[in-house]
Each structure stands twice: as structure tokens, then as C-alpha cells.
């Protein structure tokens, strides 16, 4: 049987689709293909370029690379976890305990810091924490410190900065889900003999898991790919893998090496998100909805 019905050309669809397709292709797919090609390219002793696995091999041969890589991954997971632990009570307070009138106000309080750029926010922290900063001066004055302490440039400060810069992206998705949680479910669990911890474990967290997962994915990717905060607050001792990419490409001008590192980072984030979704038995479609 022949399908004789001619397909009508949907011009409106084409007009709206072209910019999206161009954007996706020119800015995302095309550069990545180029980087992928680059990452498998190397120049030999005589200056001739050709296919090589050397760029990836370098990563495994040189301990500083894969150690930074593992450190970045573990710290990103850790930061995501800390952000989650802080966000759950905050969202619960905003959606369930605060009066309806103050809910909007509280949400805006969470949002306001994100009206200024990440750079300014990080400098804010630096002003507070540096050796001659506000906190040091205050503690010296009230006599807790005898001499000023350098509070910047260590892992704890860096984690704090990363938690601070990514908090919003966890709170907003969880608020969305938590709002639809019927208060009666919490009361019913309480009535049936559950303790407060059990209510969190059995009712609230399972209910908001889609929100937790979408928040975690965003926060994890933001932290994993962040550059400014680890560089400015972590200092020299706290290497982040994005810095390795930057160093390869800009300092050593080895774009092939940087491209390989970039792809390893992409692989890592995809893998961790995939595992996290499998472990929590969440559907990706459900999470991004």
C-alpha cells in the first residue's frame, strides 16, 4: 500500500527549530567533535601530526593528573552531599513551617546572592576570611586569636565556597517537589506511630527524591566543572581538575592534552550521574521533568 498522502511542510516548526539546531550544532556538537579529534591527535618527534593515544596515556602515567581527577570527583560528590543535607531542612522550613506570607520572601533571600556574579561572591568570602580580613580582625579584638590566622587557601574553605555557590540549584528543585507533599501524609505517618526521623526516612525523602536527584545532578555538574571558586579560595594546594585543563591549554599550550582531559571529565560526570540514577532507581525523564 502506498502512502499517497503528501506530507505538509510545517514551516512554523522549521523556523523555530533552525536556531535551536544551529545553536546545538555550532556551539556544542561541533566544538566537541573538534576536541574529540584533537584529543586523539599528537605531534611526533619530527613535528608531524597523527593519530595517537598518548594524550590519554599521559593521564594515567602521571600521578598528579589522575590524583587531581579523583580528588575533584570525590570532592564534588562530597560538596553535593553537604548541599543536600543543608537544603532538606531549609526547603522543609520554607514550604511546610514558614507562614505562607513569608514563603516568597524566604525564597527570595535564597535567590538574592545569585544576582551578583560568582567572582564578586568569591571576593566577598576573601574579604571576610583573609589574614587581614573582617573575621580575623574581629576575633583578634575580642581576644580569641593572639595572632591572625590565614583562613583562605585550604580544602575546608574551598568546600564551603563551593557549597555556598551551588546551594540555590539544590533548593529550587526540592522546593518544587516538597510543596506538593500533602501535610496529611506526614501527619498520617506520625499518627501511625512513626518517629520524626522515620518520617524523614520513609515519607519525606522518598517523596522528594526526584527533586533531590535533579538538584544533585545540577549541583554536581556545576561543582565538577567550576573553576573560579576552587582557584580563588583553594589556592595552590587545592588543585581542581578544571585547572589542569586550563593549565594544559593556556599555560603549556598543549590543546591536545587539554582536550583529552576535557573528555575524561565529561565521561566522569556522565558515569557518576548514571550510577546515581541507577542506585536511587530514578528515571532520567522523571528527574528532568
Amino acid at each position: 500500500m502506498k502512502n499517497s498522502k503528501p506530507h505538509k511542510i510545517r514551516w512554523s516548526f522549521i523556523i523555530f527549530f533552525i536556531p535551536v539546531a544551529l545553536w546545538l550544532f555550532l556551539l556544542i556538537v561541533f566544538p566537541h567533535l573538534e576536541l574529540l579529534k584533537m584529543s586523539f591527535t599528537g605531534t611526533d618527534f619530527y613535528g608531524k601530526s597523527g593519530f595517537t593515544l598518548e594524550n590519554y596515556g599521559e593521564f594515567f602515567k602521571e600521578p598528579i593528573y589522575w590524583r587531581t581527577f579523583a580528588r575533584t570527583a570525590l570532592y564534588s560528590i562530597f560538596v553535593t552531599f553537604i548541599v543536600l543535607v543543608i537544603s532538606l531542612p531549609v526547603t522543609f522550613y520554607i514550604t511546610k513551617i514558614a507562614k505562607i506570607k513569608s514563603q516568597g520572601f524566604l525564597t527570595i533571600l535564597v535567590l538574592i546572592p545569585f544576582w551578583v556574579s560568582e567572582l564578586i561572591r568569591v571576593y566577598g568570602w576573601i574579604i571576610l576570611l583573609r589574614e587581614s580580613g573582617v573575621i580575623n580582625k574581629f576575633l583578634l579584638k575580642i581576644g580569641i586569636f593572639k595572632v591572625p590566622h590565614e583562613m583562605l587557601y585550604n580544602d575546608i574553605t574551598m568546600v564551603m565556597g563551593l557549597v555556598y555557590t551551588s546551594m540555590l540549584f539544590m533548593i529550587v528543585p526540592i522546593i518544587g517537589v516538597m510543596e506538593s507533599l500533602d501535610d496529611a501524609l506526614i501527619e498520617a505517618a506520625y499518627d501511625l506511630g512513626a518517629k520524626k526521623t522515620t518520617i524523614w526516612r520513609k515519607i519525606i525523602i522518598p517523596y522528594v527524591t526526584p527533586g533531590i536527584m535533579s538538584g544533585s545532578i545540577i549541583v554536581f555538574m556545576l561543582v565538577l566543572g567550576s573553576y573560579l571558586t576552587p582557584k580563588l579560595m583553594g589556592g595552590k594546594n587545592a588543585l581542581w581538575f578544571t585547572e589542569q585543563i586550563y593549565n594544559s591549554m593556556i599555560i603549556y599550550f598543549n590543546w591536545n592534552q587539554g582536550a583529552a582531559f576535557g573528555f575524561l571529565l565529561l565521561l566522569l560526570s556522565s558515569l557518576i550521574i548514571f550510577v546515581a540514577l541507577k542506585v536511587t532507581r530514578q528515571d532520567f525523564k522523571e528527574v528532568v521533568k
Partner: protein
Amino acid sequence: MQIALSVKNLTKKFGDFTAVNNISFEVEDGKFFSILGPSGCGKTTLLRMIAGFHKPTSGIIEIREKNVLEVEPNKRPVNLVFQNLALFPMMNVFENIAFGLRRRGEKGPEVDKKVNVMLERVGLPGYGKKQINQLSGGQKQRIAIARALVLDPTVLLLDEPLGALDAKLREHMKVELKKLQVEVGTTFVYITHDQSEAMVMSDYVAVMNSGHFEQLDTPQNLYSNPASSFVAQFVGNNNKFIVGLKKDESGNFYATTPEGGQFLLSEPFDLQDQGTFEMYVRPEAMIINPSQGNKAINELNADVKAILFDGGNSRLLVVPENSKQELIVALPQNHQFDYIKAKDKIRVGWYPESAVCFKKSEEKIYEEL
């Protein structure tokens, strides 16, 4: 008989507003007790105080003669079936019912057995594996009740659980719920705004209005001997006459209408406080065209305005002579009155015992009354 639940002088204030005003009552073990009242009368607040979700401003709540005011909801021997049921969507039917048992630390085959017995009891054997969103309204209803009953509470509290069901299913569930209560023998405290639900299922009904009980009685007594004008209007249907009272030489009391009607009353009244009274006569107590010459019957002439056919619940809408007030008269569907057509003139009568009379009250339950 042991007292399952005893409430003494219970009051709850929200700011200046008194939601529950000095209420006392007792419920015997194994009884079906209903609290009937219009929305906003404070019945939900009362129930939530018994469950433990609100702290009373003053008063005492005792369960099996033990004061439970300081006991948290998760430790009280009462369970609540919520208005919207509040089944846990993240668990299947089995886990929903087992939730309370597991919180008590029960494990393994014991839980399995109890849950399965409960599912059988509510008529849904083998439903354990189903998800909540796979159930119909009536099934969810039963699971919510099963989830509370499986814990074997001293008192089961039900907060209008039939409200969300459609009319047909609600009729069915009324009978089911009553049968279930008789079977398990648990004390039920049921709140509703639907007088038919309260009457059909309950051993005792408390009629509640703006924070206090108007009357606590058996359904039969509520219907035939309402204690106040509110109860007369809220329970069942009633025709209201605005009347004055007078007493004749032989000591009989009469209600007189502004239109000049005069109706014998069966009870004496204290005529000290003069003023307006309200007389109530039920539509089903009205006799259409009573036999002539029966002196004991109060009679009035009326025009049939419309026949409101509704099967077994059919009624006549009539307007008495020289009056604008509409009355409702029950119309039995036994062909006896098939001759009555709209715009006919008929006589309507009732025995004095069928009428009740109260001092005119200021409060209104419905805007149109």
C-alpha cells in the same frame, strides 16, 4: 460497659476565636459515635485534639480512663483516617498497611499475617502488591481504614472519609463501614456534615454547632425529639412556621400564625417569656387530605405549587392559603395520591405530637433559611 473515650470540658481557642467550647462526652467501648455538624463548627478541631495534633486550651481527654494529653500522636492508642485518606504514594498497599506495625517493631511472618487478615476483612484479599494509584476511590477508602484498624486502636477516628466518593458509592460504603465496625468491635468516632451518614451508621450522634454540642442522642431521638431549633433544621428535613403561642381556658396550648391559623400543640410551654416561636413539622409527618372531622388533627388548606418527583423521596411543594411561605409535604408513591396535580387545592394535616416548638433563635444554618 467500659468507657473507651472520655472528653471533659474541652476547649480550644485560636486567638480570639473559640473553635471548641467546653465540650464533654463519653463513648462506650465498641460503639459507633458520630459528631454531626456544618462545616466550620469545630468538629475537625475536636477530632484532631483527640488524635493529638492540637493541644487543647483547657480540658481533659481520657482514653480507657488514662489521661492522654501529654501523649504524642505517635504514642496514643487512637488512629485517624484522614479526610483525603493520606495513603503513602511511595509504597504499595501491603507496605501502607504494614507501616504502623513495622513502627512498633513487628517483623516478618507476623506482619504478613496481620496485613493479609486485614485485607481480607476489608474485602480486598490479594491486593497487597498493587500501587496506590491503581486503586479506585472505594478501594483506597478501605485501605485507609485497614491501615488504621490493623493497629487495633482503642478508638478509631474518622474525619469525613466518605466525602470524596460519588453518591452511589457513598451509600454503599455507609453500610460497609457499619458492618465492618460491628465485625471488628472497635470504637469508632466519626465526624461528618452529612446527617444521613451519621444516622445510618451511629449508635449515638452528637450534633455540633459553633463549638458546642446542641444534642447528644440516639439517631431516632435526634429525629423525633430535637432539643433545639438548630437540631430540628439540621437533622432531616423540616417545615418551619413562625408562630406565637397562646393558652385557652381548658389548658391547651396553641400556636398561632400571622395569617390566622391556629394549631394545637401537644406540650405545655412557659408563656412567661413572650415572643416569637418556631414550630417545626416534618414533611413525612404531614398527612395529605386527612379524613374529615378528626378533631385531633391540625389542618390547613393549601395550593399545590409543584410536584417534586424524586422516586421514593417525592414531595409536594404547597403554599398555605393567605400565605407566601412554602411547605414541603412527603408524597408516598403508592398511587393513593395520583389524582393530585399542580395548582390543585388540598388539605394538609398533622397530629400535634408531630410538631415541635422552640423559642426563635437568631442563628441560621443556611443563608436562605
